[in-house]
């Protein structure tokens, strides 16, 4: 098993390199009539993926998405959703099942929503507030694990609630009438409308709920319903006759039918999309980006270049420190490593400047997160080993040897390529770095449990929605340190002042007001060298030559399948 990944990676590179020699060949630019949302309906959209587009479970309680996801959002409508427009406005929230993005009261501890008129499930049954409440409640059942963790922490009584199947309701979700739903939170949460985009806010009819069996035929509230679904193999969606654009202004739902195939290799997906033969001309992918080798081919082929969306999902790759382990408890050692890192070498290791941007801030460089540029340890693009040596000498380390943990493959950009670049840079500063590789599954278990967490390791963090809160709180809020596993506060940093600032910003329900506060907090945390931000990845994704309206969805950094057309 350990040898398989490099073997397939080699194969991927080989295919890309070989097809690069072919010069692309048959691809042509998107042809035909211009896109018109009024007449875009018709045809079949094909999705070519490596993994399932609906996670391991096609159950709204169990899916972990950002903004409702790509394919899940075609079947599951939520109280709110991401605004489906190009540009920065695409990082804001729009009403979906609800009439607005929510009314806060009691310092954003209470959020009230009213449902639109005319909402129906696929079988024609009206959607009520009780169905939304049931949908949220069932996501607390231990049998239906995998969804977002926020509700357990945020809703009053959420910590001990085990779901509705044993007959107990969650009193902090109230439904005074069929159209109104009220959420009572334990503390102020100005970002609640963003969380309400998650599929856990999908209505689920109690009468059709079979617990873990519900995923066999989840009841649609969106433009498509499930015709067939074989987990990890295929999914076919057809139109939901009880949905229309009059009750949904956020999805165009142009294709009549959507057929997804899973289990394909990345090299084959990109080859099929670029060749565009037959049905592949009407195809997209929701999980496969271009590799550095494939990018080399695309950049020399103007027709293929036109069929690429280049975007950035809010994500930061960084070096994590466990400050409970020596010598990383000493801020001078952490600062020395911050100075020594050669970001240019790291960016080159992941494919160059087209696929990554060097990072000196923990927040991604997008306005929605509250990004404010800063560099707490300015060392230029290639690092400052002399300054690093000086700090290490002050800390009493003349011949420091450390062990850097990393994943055993480069698919998540936290593998041997980046580790070797860091190792080489630290060598210039007199630090000997031993590398320790972990397999895919072990790596996450080891790093998220404080008792097994390495002293220094490569990590990455992506936002569940585009604001500063979900980006900073799990990593730096001391009250989120989890001893038994699932911990992302890798530094195990707990500062009451910082915790208080998190609480203060969470009270702000206007994202524009919250942004400068998140940016300032990021800069404050950056000065403490709790992490070394390395780069923000950039994603490039191909689409078939007949696919239209593939504008960049700024929330997720790719095209939006609810908006594309093949007609």
């Amino acid at each position: 098993m350990m040898r398989r990944v490099p073997a397939l990676l080699t194969a991927t590179t080989l295919l890309a390199a070989a097809t690069a020699c072919s010069g692309g060949g048959s691809a042509s630019s998107s042809a035909g009539t211009a896109f018109d949302p009024k007449s875009c309906q018709g045809g079949t959209l094909y999705i070519l993926n490596q993994t399932s587009a609906t996670d391991e479970h096609f159950d709204p309680a169990r899916i972990y998405t950002s903004g409702g996801g790509a394919v899940p959002s075609l079947v599951f409508r939520t109280l709110t959703t991401r605004k489906r427009v190009p540009g920065q406005a695409g990082t804001t929230v729009a009403p979906d099942l609800a009439t607005d993005t929510g009314t806060p009261s009691d310092d954003a501890r209470t959020w009230t929503y009213h449902l639109r008129d005319g909402l129906k499930f696929e079988d024609g049954t009206p959607i009520t507030a009780k169905d939304v409440k049931w949908g949220v409640e069932r996501s607390f059942a231990p049998e239906l694990s995998g969804g977002i963790p926020y509700l357990r922490d945020w809703l009053v009584g959420g910590t001990d609630y085990k779901g509705p199947y044993k007959g107990r309701e969650l009193d902090s979700i109230q439904t005074p009438d069929d159209k109104t739903i009220v959420f009572k939170l334990r503390k102020p949460e100005g970002d609640f409308p963003y969380v309400a985009t998650a599929t856990q806010f999908t209505p689920v009819p109690k009468a059709k709920d079979g617990g873990t069996a519900y995923e066999r035929h989840p009841i649609s509230s969106g433009p498509y319903k499930v015709q067939t679904h074989v987990q990890d193999k295929s999914l076919t969606l057809v139109r939901n006759p009880n949905w229309s654009r009059t009750v949904d202004d956020q999805r165009l739902a142009c294709p009549d039918r959507i057929e997804a195939t899973y289990g394909l290799s990345a090299a084959v997906i990109n080859q099929r999309l670029s060749t565009g033969a037959g049905k592949d001309a009407d195809a997209v992918t929701t999980d496969t980006d271009l590799s550095p080798a494939e990018l080399a081919r695309i950049s020399t082929d103007p027709t293929l270049k036109k069929r690429t969306v280049r975007g950035q999902f809010g994500y930061t790759n960084f070096i994590a420190f466990n400050t409970k382990v020596k010598p990383f408890d000493d801020v001078r050692v952490r600062e020395a490593i911050s100075y020594a890192v050669n970001r240019q070498a790291v960016v080159n290791a992941v494919g160059g400047s087209s696929l990554a941007k060097p990072a000196t801030t923990f927040l991604p460089d997008q306005a929605a997160f509250g990004y404010q540029p800063y560099d707490a340890f300015p060392a230029g693009p290639t690092g400052n080993p002399a300054k690093a040596k000086e700090l290490l000498a002050q800390a009493g380390h003349s011949n420091l040897t450390i062990t850097l943990a990393h994943r055993n493959n480069d698919a998540s950009q936290d593998g041997p390529a980046v580790a070797t670049a860091v190792q080489e840079a630290l060598k210039q500063a007199g630090v000997t770095v031993k590398l320790q590789a972990y397999d895919q599954a072990s790596y996450r278990s080891v790093q998220t449990k404080p008792s097994t967490e390495p002293g220094i390791f490569l990590a990455g963090w992506g936002a569940d929605w585009p604001t500063g809160g979900p980006f900073l709180a799990p990593i730096f809020d001391g009250r989120q340190i989890l001893q038994d596993g699932g911990n992302y506060n890798f530094a195990q940093y707990d500062d009451p002042k910082v915790n208080a600032e998190f609480d203060a910003i969470n009270k702000i329900s206007d994202p524009l007001q919250a942004r400068p506060r998140w940016g300032a907090l990021d800069a404050e945390l950056g000065r403490q060298a709790l992490t070394v931000p390395l780069f923000h990845p950039v994603y490039l994704r191909l689409y078939g030559k007949n696919v239209k309206n593939t504008y960049l969805d700024e929330w997720r950094g790719s095209y939006d399948v609810a908006m594309v057309s093949v007609k």
Partner: protein, 329 residues
């Protein structure tokens, strides 16, 4: 013969017991916690404990193994939320990742793997024997040299390279074939075969190289034996000497080679399925190993172990049928 089969059955049970115990042992030794993967990002301690309990991971590894064996013999009950569902014996449990019954997962994917391996087996046997035969009869001539080049190329090219090359040439450049998608044999036999041609060829290139070499060696060895010289001295036509007497002697070892090679074929089939996106057992092995999905890994170990033992038993029986000197005890 009965004694032989009973003995084989006994050793099969012991082997499967040991194999699954080893899987549980490895699972216990590695640091990965499947509950963390199941629970998702930002999972708190209480939730994690609930999932440990749900998956039975809060029990000692010996108890977990015992429950696994218990499920195989008498079945088990599982909570599905509102209800409790019963998994009848032989129950391999439910996948940690997908909650689907392991037995049905395997049953669903078995036809894909069987389609791949059976078709490829026919192809590589025919190609390997034919090329080996030609090579032996044209020893040290140009044909023999060309076949040797093919053998070296086939043996030295991993399936993920040969498979990609085939895809590039036939689907990307020449466009003679669509990129393969698995179509069940029962739905569309022609589509089934058309979509499996490239995966079959991928496995055939490697395996037929092995067969070619063995057939060539076997033929040359048999042709130099006394009884062949005697047949020729009696004036038997060359075609009959080769086809009826020499080939039979040369092919007998290939039966056991197919059985011995079965394990390697499984590995290559796994890579082929992953490359071509065929939803077979091999792809399931990769997915379940990556996700530390113990019930699926244990179920697949049982299936693979069973298949290897059955292949070897079948080879022994065939060997005895072909070569009357072999007696099974």
């Amino acid at each position: 013969m009965t004694l032989y089969l009973l003995r084989r059955l006994g050793s099969l049970l012991v082997l499967l017991l040991v194999m699954t115990a080893i899987v549980y042992g490895i699972f216990y030794a590695i640091p990965a916690d499947p509950a963390v993967l199941v629970c998702g990002k930002g999972c708190d301690g209480g939730r994690l404990a609930s999932i440990h309990h749900e998956l039975g991971l809060d029990q000692p590894i010996t108890a977990q193994y015992w429950h696994f064996l218990e499920g195989l013999i008498v079945g088990r009950d599982y909570s599905s939320g509102p209800d409790v569902s019963h998994c009848a014996a032989p129950c391999l449990g439910y996948s940690f990742q997908t909650d689907l019954p392991v037995l049905s997962l395997i049953a669903q994917r078995l036809p894909v793997s069987l389609s791949l391996t059976t078709g490829a087996l026919v192809l590589w046997t025919v190609t390997g024997v034919a090329l080996g035969l030609v090579s032996a009869l044209r020893e040290r001539r140009l044909t023999d040299r060309l076949v040797t080049v093919f053998v070296l190329g086939g043996l030295g090219t991993p399936v993920f390279v040969s498979g990609l090359l085939l895809l590039m040439v036939f689907c990307g450049w020449l466009k003679w074939l669509d990129f393969p998608v698995y179509v069940p044999l029962t739905e569309d036999p022609v589509g089934w075969a058309r979509n499996l041609i490239l995966p079959w060829l991928t496995l055939t290139i490697l395996q037929s190289a092995i067969f070619t070499r063995l057939t060539r060696t076997g033929m040359l060895e048999t042709l130099s034996e006394d009884h062949i010289r005697t047949f020729r001295a009696y004036g038997l036509p060359e075609r009959r000497v080769i086809g009826r007497h020499a080939l039979r002697g040369a092919l007998t070892p290939l039966i056991s080679i197919n059985a011995v090679e079965f394990g390697a074929v499984l590995v290559n089939a796994m890579l082929t399925e992953t490359l071509f996106g065929l939803p077979g057992i091999g792809q399931l092995i990769v997915q379940s190993s990556n996700n530390v999905d113990l019930p699926v890994v244990a179920g697949l170990t049982l299936t693979a172990g069973l298949a290897v033992v059955l292949a070897n038993t079948a080879a022994d029986l065939l060997y005895a049928a072909v070569d009357r000197r072999v007696v099974l005890t």
